[in-house]
């Protein structure tokens, strides 16, 4: 497996590489990108990471909804289920995000949100589309 350090690859905006095939992708993090060397050509979809302000605002809304103890780590990578959000929390969070960003989130999009980063990316997309 080849690892490319973040500093050796320069992009105009932070990007996240998403493997659209079913080949497993190990250890994908914001600060490094790991590619599996494979003889068959693979297709990659490159999408942009969410804006930092959006991620921060989402973290804030999530903290308030889940009444998390002081010092609980909430970041882009945080999974809602790991933070203790059940389905009722999730819909309240989605509603809070809709009010804060003045958007409407369809159930089909909401279902694919697993992390704070996912939510922030969706919000950026919806806000841009307005």
């Amino acid at each position: 497996m080849a690892a490319i350090a973040g500093s050796a690859v320069s992009f105009a905006r932070p990007v996240k590489a998403v493997n659209v095939n079913s080949v497993p992708f190990a250890g994908l993090r914001k600060d490094n990108v790991a590619f599996r060397l494979h003889p068959v050509s693979q297709k990659f979809a490159v999408c942009c990471a969410a804006k930092k302000e959006t991620v921060d605002k989402v973290c804030d809304i999530v903290r308030k909804q889940l009444v998390l103890p002081e010092g609980t780590e909430v970041s882009g990578a945080s999974k809602f289920t790991d933070l203790g959000a059940d389905s009722l929390d999730t819909v309240e969070i989605v509603m809070g995000l809709e009010e804060a960003f003045k958007i409407t989130v369809e159930e089909s999009s909401a279902q694919s949100i697993g992390t704070v980063e996912d939510a922030a990316e969706l919000i950026d997309k919806l806000v841009e589309a307005k």
Binding site: S87, L88, V91, M95, G96, E107, A110, Q111
Partner: protein, 232 residues
Amino acid sequence: MLASVSSLVQTNKRLDTDANIDPRSFEFKKNKFGKPEILWQSDESSMEWPLHFNISHTSSLIACGIAMDTPIGIDVEEKKRKTVKSILSLARRYFTPSEVDYLAKISDSDAQQKEFIKLWTLKEAYVKALGRGFSGAPFNRFSIQLETNSRIQISKAAKVCNDSASGCDYLSENWRFALAELNSSYYMSVCIEDNSRGFENDSVPLGLKVWKTIPFIEDTLVSGTDAVKLIT
């Protein structure tokens, strides 16, 4: 999860004296929408009907519902669960107009909050029984009618489903519900497919049994006691 299903299936074996299955032989898979299911071998001749299960949990309780030959959905919630947003604003955003009206008519805020939780668990149980995820049965496309002393009914939300087909394609109305209070602290909703094939009203009883389980250690039948109060 494996432990509680195995333990509960061992309990289930008491009901069907012909069953001769080792729960440890169960394998699990997820359907294409992510719902966990038992991987049932078609040559499984030792059990007449396939087992279905569904799981729900709150911070202090795990519930596992098991049914033979019918998909099942279960949801549990603390009776006194408080929401950050107001009940009516949540209902207006996610529920149908008739459900909003039902809640709006309740003047006592505690009672209103309890009815909201009941409706929430019933709708969750239905979506989980269908097994197509939240987007397969959006909450505002179907209504649950909760009338005292009569059977819980489900119907497609007429206006939304007639105006646009999207989101209503997989909604069916042939489902039965049970709503119960557990230990005076939780609401539990169970939803199974209605196989009564045209029987009027409730001629076929649901046959719900509830066990309090410490996996691999103890099972106590609690249905019929004060621990389980059937609401309908």
